[in-house]
Symmetry: C2
Subunit: 341 residues, 2 copies
């Protein structure tokens, strides 16, 4: 176990849940530090009966810290992670900045737990839309080798943090009153609208969010031949990302076999009874840790693939829960900043 | 031209737009009848300066009528269309009931105008989600033969008529107030939620809405080898259906060629500049007649296909506009109930 842990970005949308989960899941620690940018310094946070003051995120803040769980923008992660590593701490980072660094394992505990053993001080947690995708695909990949994935996402506004959720509320209230709320978080008004762009123009007409799904999926499965064609869309939903997925495997899977593989997989819950109107929906998945799968059916476009619908709480398994699960995995395996203990 | 025309279902969400469009597009007629169910009988509607009383939809109502444009539920269309045909009228029907009848042409004027020549009194307009799909695919099909389509939809609540739009408003207002509005039109609360079911369980885990996209696409293109794998999802948007489409053609198309084909196609408008945040969105397409296409890019999952994003006003081109365009086509070609005039 780690005596001293630090949370970076503890006052953000994801950081708050990390803190809640630390307590609820009884993550073992003796000392807890909360670090944040200047704006939040001095704020007091109650953590299981104790009041903790938020301290400034600066190089000296990591002295004596064993484990860091961080949820910050990329540019913050770029700066602070080397400070933490230099101070001898092990960093679990949820930002996008370190994920594709070849020295940084990108980990989803249900999928590639072994990857944590070979780190250089930083372990990254994937982007929310990738995490739920790989958790759902993992049992199919183990059984039949995933070759091609065509995925269209329906992503909640909380993917853009607390300001994203607030903008959805404001934009919707204004739309109901026949007014337009000028967007600031998103590129366009999101109330009762869809925005087929998440992130910036990155590669041949695909956005940065879409390319994360391509690159991160390959890295997590350790298989550069997996092909992914993603379309990422922001929808007026607060919490819970949804994905319409068509997967083609090397060995064709029947629907029955795919369902059994999903049912037997860690972290996956199947909700699939169309006749009874049972399938995963954002409103039912909010606040839950699993990845939910339904609408499982064979590809009727002549392929040998399986089509399905996948929903998960983007703040939980998509972010906070996966980070805590990585930390729990590190405890179980006795991984420290210096290697295996 | 037709001397006497009748609108059936003129007080519904689509019927109102048909009426507006008849006037705006200066559709030629001498006499206009409005027919509806008992509930709406006697209601007075102003049409270009004239007040028209809604009359009862009954067998005798079609006496002397040359052309009927109808927007009703399937079970109503099943009953009234034979009355109209028996009275010697030609029926343009927007319901789902007659679409797959082999004696009934299923027509999108930009795609298969010739089909109207061979009718038995009824001409059907496709389902909203199919119409925008085939308008977008038509230029690619003509140039390179469409073989396979993988499509995930993001469908507006107005697809379920005025009650659908009202339920979105009520459900959203309640959600903003932390309450749940019990659903009646949809299977589940739709405010800030997604429902991955439109229609009923129809075929091997696919819904009736999804199978319409399969069967209607084949019928309109007259090509039973076109393979379609659809996923239809209701989203909290009022007007405007969106579709994430991956299309594979017999002769592979480059992105440039696909864009040029879209740009040259009747009824298609390209909005495609990701860097400038320009792409079709429901809020911009509302009240417009075209099918809007953007995010055009090559399939990076190793296939030879083209991926794109497609939005259209489901009440306009998805319903009312297509019906009026069919009627205009019938006028141009001199088609009557008895055949070519």
């Amino acid at each position: 176990m780690y005596d001293s842990i630090a949370l970076v970005g503890a006052t953000g949308a994801v950081g708050r849940i990390v803190l809640e989960q630390l307590v609820q899941r009884e993550f073992p620690y003796k000392k807890l530090k909360l670090l944040a940018s200047e704006r939040s310094v001095g704020r007091e946070v109650r953590v299981s009966g104790e009041t903790i003051k938020v301290e400034l995120l600066e190089p000296d803040a990591f002295k004596g810290v064993d484990l860091v769980i961080a949820s910050t923008p990329d540019e913050v992660a770029k700066e602070f992670a080397p400070w933490a590593v230099a101070a001898g701490a092990l960093v679990v980072d949820e930002s996008g900045y370190w994920r594709m660094d070849p020295t940084v394992p990108l980990v989803v505990p249900e999928v590639n737990p072994d990857a944590v053993d070979n780190h250089s001080g930083i372990i990254a947690s994937p982007n929310c839309s990738t995490t739920q995708l790989v958790v759902a695909l993992a049992p199919l990949h183990r059984a039949a080798r995933v070759r091609r994935v065509i995925v269209s996402t329906y992503q909640a506004t909380s993917g853009a943090g607390l300001p994203g959720s607030e903008e959805l509320n404001d934009s919707t209230r204004n739309a109901l009153a026949g007014k337009v709320h000028p967007p600031s978080v998103f590129q366009h008004p999101i109330g009762f609208n869809l925005i087929p762009q998440i992130g910036s123009d990155k590669h041949e007409g695909y956005t940065s969010e879409e390319m994360k799904m391509v690159y991160e999926t390959r890295k997590i499965f350790g298989d550069d031949e997996i092909q992914v064609c993603p379309t990422c869309v922001r929808v007026p939903v607060k919490i819970g990302h949804s994905e319409s997925i068509l997967v083609e495997t090397e060995r064709p899977l029947t629907v029955l076999e795919a369902r059994q593989l999903f049912e037997g997989a860690d972290g996956v819950t199947v909700i699939d009874d169309l006749d009874q109107h049972q399938y995963p929906m954002p409103r039912d998945c909010e606040g839950k840790d699993d990845v939910f799968v339904g609408r499982i059916r064979h590809d009727i476009s002549g392929g040998t693939g399986v089509a399905f619908w996948c929903v998960s709480d983007n703040l939980r398994k998509g972010a906070a829960t996966n980070a805590i699960q990585i930390a729990e995995l590190l405890v179980r395996r006795g991984v420290t900043a210096g290697g295996k203990s």
